[in-house]
Symmetry: C3
Subunit: 258 residues, 3 copies
């Protein structure tokens, strides 16, 4: 039973996602559907890119991820399929897969061209239902990845802000705020030495790395490596974004010890 | 594996939908459950009717749709099952299925009377769990549609506002606002000639029909036929309801060319 | 096909729940996943406890419920599995299962100690994915409940406010507000005689028990036994919490008849 996951900014209230699920189950009745999220902020391609990066290593080999955050639907942006490691992704070529195009894992991208895999006369504003859902369904039936269309070398990559690293420390920024108000930065674990002096964000200074939230008192800020693999600033039993008054893009600097 | 879809105004936070799913899986362990939406506004029967119309043609033959938006639960309103085309719908008889009772597709409605298909002593405020879920489950096991109860000819139909059509143009209104703030009107594609002069809504005038959002600049209003088959007013990469300050019921008029 | 349900305060926007689902499907490909809710308010252990109590009797024997509302994740709070009746629950030992530890149904609790059932090096802030999801998956494969770890006699119980009962009446409080704004109290059906005189809440007095909402006019308050088995105050076709201006903890008193 092949797994197909769905990630969109459609919300659920209008039934758009259900239409996609109906199409998939019609073509691939044995497939298992997993709804990742449909609560991506409208048009927030980068937010979806981070979610996709987060989930991709936790699904079994052969999982097909259908992802649609697609402000340019109907225009001449390409529709693509991407294979990286043992996972396949299907969606618009607008940077949604930026964080999966890494040097560590070989990838192959193809433009969706095979008209047998898409609905006849796809609706110009609903490629989720008429293009990406049926392509995912066909791939789940075992159709060859290569049969989707021609290989492309230049899938769109969104610019990702990189932290500035020096001998004294590293300076990055908040790139994601999760449901709990926890602040994910773009500083990953490889950028941090074992021993740090301070972490500064807005008017707050944190003097050590923790492993879990409860190492500090309730209401106090805490810094740790989160499950995405990035430095995170949280407030124990609080909401860091609200409690510290911090939004996406806020600067975070880590000063290394001695 | 029969498919059962669920559409409610229950939200998910209280576990009500999960109780329905538990009941269904207890009776029909092989059934496939698809959550269409549980975010219908409380008691918004017409909103659910539009969602049901939208999804019905995208599910495989034999799909059973269990829909519960039910402000009159426990009173003497009837419980019904409806077969239209190759789809079955189960829910309260309060107009929820209004948009499926068309002349184009033959339908048959029955009152739910067979006590073998419902829970003993159903809770007076939770027919979703104790009536509609088990009826859907029994039908998914292959029980005859006719065995539900007696045929009825007069399922409740909510009044649907019809656009006013003349030689010069058509005047309708906004009937649905989707997650993106896009405005669905009650003007369908058959009411529009190939060539139009203007589309007016609030203080805005749009001079042509587009096929997709990106045909206009970001922030500009755009008119197109949406995936429900209705005229839609949107704002490219924006939120028309917010940006234009428009709510449900707002008048939309289309002036035909020449 | 074993059933695994998921109840968390993770929301869906960040993909955390999907990571759990990926882990479960990797270990237990045949399992059926049911999302109960991920909209528990952050850290609201008691809210989740009520939802779990509500759903537990509606799922088939052998269902495994994985529940994670876990502000103390990573600290020394225990991870536990609980068997009660024919259902199994897996989650943190922080009171989440308080309402399932009853005298009526025998239960057995065990600390999760078997390292074969958890991910190597579990992330200190994400036991949902690295501990509870894989334990649920292993149990769904038929591993013995006893193999999880040692029996414990003292799972954490949150204090539950009990109503004050006298000959004249019973005084309780609002413990839950559902999606419709309906007010669930802690007064259960066994505390009420057949005949009552009045029910008072805030400035409102209700003079009889109803069976369903529509027994009173739209906009009027109504008292009934809800599907959790508790006294509920609602407003027909309204939102009692908003319309009556009432929050959790508000006192409710029932005066018995003569």
């Amino acid at each position: 039973m092949p797994i197909i996951t769905l990630t969109t900014d459609y919300g659920t209230q209008d039934g758009f996602v259900a239409q996609m699920q109906g199409v998939i189950l019609g073509l691939s009745p044995e497939s298992r559907l997993v709804n990742v999220t449909h609560e991506i902020n409208p048009f927030a391609v980068m937010q979806a890119a981070l979610v996709l990066k987060g989930i991709s290593r936790y699904f079994p080999p052969g999982t097909i991820h259908c992802a649609v955050v697609d402000p340019g639907v109907g225009s001449d942006r390409r529709n693509i399929a991407l294979r990286t490691g043992n996972q396949i992704f299907v969606g618009p070529d607008n940077g949604l897969f930026s964080l999966l195009l890494t040097e560590e894992i070989p990838w192959e991208a193809r433009e969706i061209q095979n008209s047998e895999y898409i609905m006849p006369d796809p609706h110009p504003t609903f490629h989720g239902r008429d293009v990406f859902a049926p392509v995912a369904a066909h791939l789940s039936l075992g159709k060859a990845f290569e049969s989707v269309g021609n290989m492309i070398q230049d899938p769109v990559r969104l610019p990702v802000s990189s932290p500035r690293i020096s001998k004294e420390g590293v300076e990055g920024q908040v790139i994601h705020i999760d449901r709990f108000g926890n602040l994910t930065t773009n500083i990953d674990s490889r950028m941090l030495p074992n021993s740090i002096k301070t972490i500064s964000i807005a008017h707050w200074t944190i003097s050590r790395m923790s492993k879990y939230f409860n190492e500090v008192q309730a209401g106090e800020p805490v810094a740790l490596m989160n499950s995405f693999g990035f430095l995170e600033i949280a407030v124990n039993r609080g909401n860091a974004a609200q409690d510290l008054g911090i939004g996406k893009g806020t600067r975070v600097s880590v000063q290394f010890a001695g």
